[in-house]
């Protein structure tokens, strides 16, 4: 009984925060609402016996990603979203898509009625950090490696995207730096020789 009550509490919180995120035109309010969704989902993960995923959800989503988003919002000093003026058909498109997806959702809801209604045995405990780590470094080693390479690519890509100079400007800076170093080397070489 308490499980159902907790589910409806956090599900309601998540849906309310999600709607608030789409509703607000100020991006900062949207970001704060999104943090609410992440925290509600993290609580749901705890009720689903997945404490590791719940902790990682808070750390990565509410911690890292949202801090990045809020930093960018403040850095760019964004104004409120302008209202749609000439794009009225987008409202119709969005409403149609929403109705379609909701219909699919409730179709799924009825289709899974015959699926297991009781959670699997607690002793299996798929949410334990130990079992996740074992699976990660034995059976799923290759996907983990690929994700590592992907993160490296993201780091390099974001550094290149966020730089201020264009390619010819960078070449100029590098040439200047090389000349300065040559002069310094010449001086040092003299000093050592003497």
């Amino acid at each position: 009984m308490i499980g159902t009550a907790l589910f409806f509490l956090f599900a309601g919180l998540a849906i309310a925060c999600a709607i608030s995120m789409v509703y607000h035109r100020n991006p900062l309010y949207s970001a704060i609402s999104l943090v609410g969704v992440f925290i509600a989902l993290s609580c749901l993960y705890v009720t689903l016996a997945a404490p590791f995923i719940a902790a990682v959800q808070i750390l990565i989503y509410a911690g890292a990603i949202m801090v990045l988003v809020v930093f960018v919002i403040m850095l760019l000093n964004l104004e409120e979203d302008r209202p749609h003026s000439r794009l009225n058909y987008l409202y119709a498109l969005g409403g149609g898509l929403g109705v379609l997806l909701l219909a699919q959702t409730f179709f799924i809801f009825y289709a899974v009625m015959r699926s297991p209604n009781q959670p699997a045995d607690q002793t299996l405990s798929p949410g334990k950090t130990l079992s996740i780590g074992q699976a990660m470094y034995t059976e799923y080693l290759l996907p983990v490696e690929i994700v590592g390479v992907l993160l490296l690519m993201a780091v390099i890509g974001s550094v290149i995207l966020a730089r201020k100079l264009t390619a010819p400007q960078i070449e100029l800076v590098v040439e200047k730096e090389l000349e300065i170093r040559k002069e310094e080397d010449a001086k040092d070489g003299l000093g050592i020789a003497l």
Partner: protein, 101 residues
């Protein structure tokens, strides 16, 4: 008594719908980015619910993968938004319809 698997899937579907509609309604690139994050989270909830109800670790492992990809997406996506803002002084996606300049 625990809620059934279907109720978790329904919640996930509702959150995904809100995210998908939000991507269409928002004109702000950062707002669209946040809606995409919401959709990724809805899918994560499905993974964890299936993992719980079938007693399998794989679902939670793939949630971890999705989170890593979301982190990479955040880094690159926000880099693109900043680069775009530097060129056009706006993050409105309607201003991003020109490829050159």
């Amino acid at each position: 008594m625990e809620p059934s698997l279907g109720s978790y899937l329904a919640l996930s579907g509702i959150l995904f719908t809100i995210g998908a509609v939000g991507v269409i309604y928002k004109r702000n690139a950062i707002g669209m980015f946040m809606c995409i994050e919401l959709m990724l989270n809805a899918v994560n909830l499905t993974f964890v619910a299936f993992s719980r109800y079938y007693g399998d670790t794989t679902g939670q492992l793939f949630v971890f993968m999705v989170m890593s990809v979301a982190a990479a997406e955040a880094a690159v996506g926000l880099g693109i938004i900043i680069a775009f803002f530097r060129n056009s002084m706006s993050v409105d996606v309607d201003d991003a319809s020109i490829l050159k300049n």
